[in-house]
Structure formats: C-alpha cells, structure tokens
Amino acid sequence: MQESVGTKGLIFNEPLLWEKGSKGRSGFSLPRRDVDSFPVDEELCGDGPDFPDLGETDVVRHFTRLSQWNFSVDSGMYPLGSCTMKYNPKTNERQAALPGFGGAHPLLPAELSQGVLQIMYELERYLGEITGLPAVTLQPAAGAHGELTGMLIFYAYHQSKGSKRSKIIIPDTAHGTNPASATLCGYKSIPVKSDENGVLAPADVAAVMDDDTAGIMVTNPNTLGLFEDNIQEVSKIVHDHGGLVYADGANMNAVMGIVNMADSGVDVLHLNLHKTFATPHGGGGPGSGPVCVTPELERFLPSPRVIEKDGKYRLSEDYPDSVGKIHAFYGNFGVQIKAYAYIRTMGAANLKKASQLAVLNANYIKAALKDTYYLPYNRPCMHECVFNDKFLSDFKVSTLDVAKRLMEYGFHPPTVYFPLVVAGAIMIEPTETECKQDIDMFIDAMKAIAREARENPELLHEAPTTPKVRRLDEITAARKPCLSG
C-alpha cells in the first residue's frame, strides 16, 4: 500500500481577530488630507464599528491559518454522497473574474450588458439541451430553491386548469429537501416506499396517485445511487391523473448526455450547477439551481426572462402567467459564468464521458469494497454506492467511527446515516475527477479501517486523534445550542 496521504503536522492556533492586534496598529496609511476640514452634522456622528486594529501581517496570517484548518477538493478526495464534490477547474474562476463580468452591475441597461445577457441566454439553451427540457430559468439560488420554484410552477399549472390539488407523492429515496419544498408550497407529502430493488414500483405509485395529487417528486438517480428503471411507467400513472412529474436533478452527474429527462416523462427538473457543473460548492461560494421545464410549462417560469431578437438580448417581464420573481435580480450570475465555462471547455462528448466515468468510478469502489462493507442493494449503481456498518457491528464499531477514522487517512468522510432507508448508511460518491490511484488509496484506507475494527476497535472509537479537533460534542451542541457569539 502506498503511504497514506493523512499524516501528522504542526497546526497553528489562531484567536479571533478581536483578540489580536493593538490600539493604533494599521495595515495602510491614509493619504494626507488635501481639503479643509468641515464639521459634520452631529446626527450623523457616533461611535465607529467595533473593528480591531490590525496590521497586514495579522490579517494575512489569520486567514491563511484558518484556511489551513480546512479540507477541500483542492486538498484531497471528498467522496460526499449526493453532493458531487468534483474538482472545480481553475479556468472557470478566471473566466468569471474577467473585468467585463467582474465590473458588471445588475442595474446597467441591457444595451450595456449584452455579453452578460448572452451568457445567460446561451447557458439556458445548453441546460435545456442537456436535460431535454428546453425552457429554463437561472434564478434559483440553489437546489432546494429550485425545488420550491418547481412546486410553485406545479401550483400555477393546476390553478390554470381551475383546480387546486393538495398532495405530492415523494419516494423514501428522494432527497431530504423535497418534502420540505412541497410543504413550503402548501402541499402535503405522501411518502412511498421503494421496493426490494431500491426503486419505485409503479403499482405503489398507482395506489396513492389520485385527482387531488399535484404530482410526484422523484430524485433520479435516487439517493441509493440507483436509476429509477420504472420512471416512464411512473410518469404515465401520474400524467393519467392530470399530475406533473418533478425530477430532482441533483444527481444529474450520472446521466449527462445519456438520459433525456423529457423522454422519461419529467415535466420540471432542477439542476445544481455547484454539483454537476463544477462550480464551487458549500463554503466555496453561492450555489445555483436552474429549473428546466417542458414547452407547455414555459409560461409559468419566473420572470424576468432573457430574450433574444435580431442578435440583441434584453430582459422581459411580459409573462402574465409567471410565478414571479424568486431571486434578487437574475440569480447568482458569477456561478452561471463558471458553469458556462465548464460546459464550453468540456463540450458535449466530454460531458457524457464525465458521467460515464463518474458511474464507472462508483461501481469500481462498490466492487472493491463489497466484501468488506455490507452492500444492502447489490446491483449496478450509478454515480454513488451505499454501504453500511452491518459487518462491523460485532466489534461495536459504527458508521460514525469509520467516518471519523477515515479523516486520519487523509480523506473527507462520505455522507453518513443517509439515505434513511439504509440503517447506518455510508454513501460514497467519488465523481469522475478522481484518478484510479487516488481511488485505490481510498479503497485501501477503507479496507485498513475494517481490519482495525476487528483487531483494535478502540482505535476507531477514539478517532480522530490527529486532526486539529477531536470528536465534537454534537449532543450538547444539539441539546443546548449556543446561538450567539
């Protein structure tokens, strides 16, 4: 086995900025005043903000040290299931920082924003082509916001038919945010269990679908990393009752260029640009959750929308049936540029290949670890595979212990205890951006941990000991949360 990437090292402590510095210290000097002083209205005066007095060295070391406490896709493999933590190419950052984009302002008139509007317009076309759902809004700020937008579109659609339906069907393998989004829109979630193969059975959907049900929210591939084989049949059942089909496209990384979502019966789908399209995720920056719909539902999309006429782009509010504005201005534009750059640098053939490699990598891990960790659904997976801790329970070692120990081998832990349909779930998504050598090191680490569980379970119960902090007291944090500084 290659030497583990996890090691020991010197980690700097770093206090809060308010505990650093001293009175009068400064990082720059103001130029000499070259105008006469003038008294300011007393009402405008008062104490300044409570900022610490710091030098440049203080500030640079502070943030450099904090950044060294972090773990990111730039430092190592981050196999967080259902989060698609793929590497974010640096060229995308460079494009987004071009002065024309960096200096753009949303209040500039359309004639001074042609490039920006063109990017938005073309990105919508690309996402429409990738999903098969040609009408797109870029406004939603993230996945769950896209889900809510989708539910508002469901509501507007049924309202246009003169009906007001009250329920949404949600499988137990859907993303956890789906029922929350449906509830926020006033719908009652009707849960449906997946079958013994981990997918939806048409008969189970038929049993709950009725004329008071607005539709279904399906995550495909689902959170077990399995493709919903029966999606066309499920869609037909829902459509026959006048319902709509929503697809949570957070797992789109498995099927780009392979599945046409419209052909599978989907009416509305959101994408996560910060997952599938390689823009930074989580603390790396804001997200973006575009929503793609069928031509029939286009009139309900949020406004304003970017339109093109004779090579000129502008924003139009002329959509009387629209669900309205759902984000300040037009969404997180900086993220949209990075996704646009990703799509253009990859091209159609390589987007498809990215999905194929993502699926191959997950299946490689599944095959390599299935004798070491229990695999509840032993069938070909898509972009992620789900194990659990069943083989380790005899040694009183749990999923959490494995996840904590994995840190010491230099890997971010996978998603744990989700999906809920698998007790003690360990959900691994390697993505296409990890090379075989790194995936092999991850597999070796997982096997080494399983050996340790048998031979020295205490090592796992105590883990992690090498990172800057040991196990956090999640219990006290949850029971007695301290919500202020």
Partner: protein, 135 residues
Amino acid sequence: MKEINELTFPDDLRYTKDHEWARLEKDHVRIGISDYAQDQLGDIVFVELPQVGDEFEKGDEFGIVESVKAASEMYLPISGTIAMINAALEPNPEIVNNSPYDEGWMMLIKPDDPAELDALMDKAAYLEMLKGNES
C-alpha cells in the same frame, strides 16, 4: 448500538411496527418509544409532542423525535385524545435514552376504544419482528 438480547422489553406492554409502546393504566394508555428505537436513534436531542386535548386516529403522526443521527416521526398506536404529555422531555430529552419505559414516557391518552390495543404486538411478536429486521 446494542444487540437485541442486550435490550429490554417489558412484558406488560404492547408494541407497534414503528417501535412505539403502549401500556393500559386504568382509563388511560401511556405511550413511549421502545428500547430498540432509542438505541437505533442514538443520543436524542429533541422531542416534539402534541398539545393536551388534541385528538388523533390510530396511526396518525403525533410527534417527532430527533437524535444526532436522524429525525423520526412517531405514530399513535391507538385512537384517542391527549390527556397529558411528559413536559420533562423538553428540557431533558436524554431521559428517553436513559429510561424509555419509565421516566422517558411520551404522553397519556384517553383512548376511544381500549380494545384497539389487542391488535398491537405483544413482547414475543415484537421480538420476532426485530429479529426479522436484523437478518
């Protein structure tokens, strides 16, 4: 987590497939979650219960129990009206972990029909179901 033979299941209770227990006490039925349920959930950090006076049908969701691992709905084993809830659980949800059958009870209900309890599992049937889950 513990093995099933390390958990306790009192003989005088009735159990549901969702791991609630029910105990007939004169006119009332006391409700809680089983030792298996608390062990599976792990450290419980929050319990949400209904209001006294609320009416429920058998099988209705009556509350949520949240641990560091998951949030789980609880379903009523029997139809009736909430007569009392265990107020101690709000400040000290860990009581459910420490004493699921005694101090960690959830609520008392006035049943519409106490005979509904007969349809629930006794200890032997519940244990058999749990062993089925394990295999």
